[in-house]
Amino acid sequence: MTRKENQAARARAHFPAFDLPAPSPTHAADALTPFHQLIKRLSETYGPSGSEEAVRELARAEIKGLADQIRVDAFGNLIALRKGAGNRRKKIMVTAPLDEPGVMVTFLDARGFARFGMLGAVKPLTLPGARCQFENGVIGVFGRETRGAADTEKDADAFFLDVGATSAQDAPVRIGDAACLVGEFRAAGNLLCGKALSGRARGAILIETLRRLKRATHDVYCVFTVQSQVGARGAGAAAFALQPDYAFVLDATPAQDFPGGDTNLALGKGPAILAQDEKMIASAAARQVLLEATRQTQTPYQIQAHARGGGEGAPIQAAREGTVTGALGLPVRYLHTQSEMVDARDVANIIEILTSVFAAKTL
């Protein structure tokens, strides 16, 4: 952490940059429950794919004392083991991402404009005018070339980042620096809104589940994965190492209960039990476990059958001789934008379901 702070100080000292005023303190958060404050803190923490240190440290501090073993694997995943007490206990792995969508600087031109690559499924055309924040606090504004016809979603080459520099030399960022989107956390009734929220709410679910879990029947490995946004790279490595009997991926389900949405999935109607995503058909046995848990806890649920998105399930399912893998989707509106939106009731229901699974007599 020290190294990073020094870097930030250097950048501030030498270069003009959009880094003032400082990020606002956690104001008015008193109105939030402690759990929602945790979600807020997680959401506001910097952590694009590959730069998850700060989020991981926050999560590690939160789960201190809640697990029997806590470790960080070589890939950077944070893994907490809560031992089970059951006679017929199974090894269960549950994953939630630490990282968030963002961008990475790939080129700096002579005038100090940055080209960037996507970290995760950010849609280029939604970016112009939006902002991102680098680890050293520098703010970048997204722009788009006006020459030529960059009027489709696909034409990602036509976008650039303005970090307030006037040359490559005085640019306060370097090639390879990553940035997250900028979007303040907000709450409106049950709706929570913020950048990185779809991932961080899932991280908060794992933390809160560990906190509330009185007694586990099974050995539960909570895996806070890194690099989930860029191909679910951390999850497969963890599954290969842990060799679980069951893996449950906490996924983000694109809720489209808005005008002209093309699926029937909604916020507040319970988590989605995934039939499939783009890269995996969920294992039937894992689906059954989740369905049974919703019955036990009498929580609502939805089924996601659209082959959309590719979560962390596919590489887990493919690990070694195969892992029985299911996925529980937190419905999210406006995925991969600075304003991801989730419903606090869905969050709470996932905690109920996970708790039920972990404490189930048999699986």
Partner: protein, 379 residues
């Protein structure tokens, strides 16, 4: 003994959409139990039938618990492309594809919706009378199609859930010249060849253990997750994939394509180990079996592609049944190609000896099959 047509009819009638292979798997477990020493199921649901090495002709020996013999994996994928319910609107079923469809063949098909019970339905679309000229000229998009079960909305919701799968309702049809047509002959044809091969091996002396594998999740999974995990579990010395391939047909007249009825294809290329190819071709020649050589620069788009790089690498081969009209409701093959593929593999398996395994693997020869005991616990 069942005829090949019987076997194929039974196999193609058992639904087995990728990731939802229960019915076809149950059928295969029963068949494997008749033909193998041991039957195991992987965590993801692939079925493994093990026939231990036995160097003498005659009845099967008592089931040995373990073996030091080299392992030959012969696999065919059991899953088929299908559809999945994504929404119910006014009693009509909206759906997406599982696997790669030519969605132009879907309108006006009979289907089976596998809900609380299996429900027959039809795929409807707006009649041409009400279409604008431009609409008539373009194919129907998947989002415009729906399934009519004849049910009210409430009753449809009672019997069908989002996530239920759908198959075409299409029985095996016999054409002239011992050719047959049906849905899902990709890869029920391969499965039929696999069973026929196992049958032939019952009293064929063999120096290698035979692992016959029916794999899940070939059609849908970019990772070929079924084949990958089964191969990882078995760690074979040679793996052979049995799958279908495009046959020459109207509009697809590339001379490089094999012709249905002229014998199985033996694939050659980067995905195929030269030793395996040579042995397969020798086997075909020795038995004077009609066969065709198919050539692939790199990816064969079969399970052979992933098996080749599983673990520390597996020498892999590919035997193909030529099939016309791939991924349609009328996939068409010649029964003789299935029979000859089975004979080819029988000859191939019978020839393998301990030296072959050593030649392929050098000093890394002796390895215990990994963790199969645990895999067996499942289901």
């Amino acid at each position: 003994m069942p005829t090949l047509t019987d076997t194929l009819a039974k196999l193609s009638a058992a639904p087995g959409v990728s990731g939802h292979e229960n019915a076809v798997r149950a059928l295969l477990v029963r068949e494997f139990q008749k033909l193998a020493d041991t039957v195991e199921i992987t965590p993801l649901g692939s079925v493994i039938g093990i026939l231990r090495a036995q160097t003498t002709r005659g009845p099967r020996a008592a089931r040995p618990k373990s073996s030091a013999a080299p392992r030959l994996l012969v696999e065919a994928h059991m899953d088929q492309i299908g559809l999945i319910v994504t929404d119910i609107q006014d009693g009509f079923i909206r759906f997406e594809e599982i696997g790669y469809w030519d969605s132009r063949v879907l309108p006006s098909q009979n289907v089976l919706v596998h809900g609380k019970k299996t429900l027959p339905g039809v795929i409807g679309a707006r009649p041409p009378h009400v279409l604008a000229a431009a609409e008539r000229k373009r194919p129907l998009a998947l989002a415009e199609l729906f399934i009519d079960l004849g049910l009210s909305d409430a009753r449809a919701r009672e019997l069908v859930s989002v996530g239920d799968v759908i198959t075409l309702d299409r029985a095996l049809l016999s054409l002239q010249n011992e050719m047959v047509a049906s849905q899902a002959l990709d890869n029920r044809a391969g499965l039929a060849a696999l069973l026929e091969f196992l049958r032939h091996m019952q009293d064929t002396p063999r120096a290698w253990d035979i692992y016959a594998v029916a794999n899940v999740n070939e059609e849908d999974s970019p990772l070929y997750v079924g084949a990958q995990t089964a191969a990882y579990a078995i760690q074979p010395h040679i793996a052979i994939c049995l799958d279908v391939t495009h046959a020459r047909q109207v509009g697809l007249s590339d001379d490089a394509l094999p012709e249905a009825g002229q014998g199985p294809g033996i694939a050659r290329g980067a995905n195929v180990h030269p030793f395996v190819f040579d042995k397969l071709r020798q086997a075909a020649r020795r038995r004077a079996l009609p066969h065709q050589i198919t050539v692939y620069g790199s990816d064969t788009e079969t399970n052979a592609w992933i098996m080749q790089v599983t673990g520390d690498g597996i020498p892999t081969g590919l035997v193909e049944i030529p099939l016309r009209y791939m991924h349609s409701a009328v996939e068409t093959i010649a029964l003789s190609d299935i029979a000859r593929a089975a004979e080819l593999l029988q000859e191939f398996a019978a020839q393998l000896n301990a030296d072959d395994a050593r030649a392929l693997r050098g000093e890394t020869f002796v390895r215990a099959p990994a963790r199969r005991a645990r895999a067996k616990r499942r289901r």
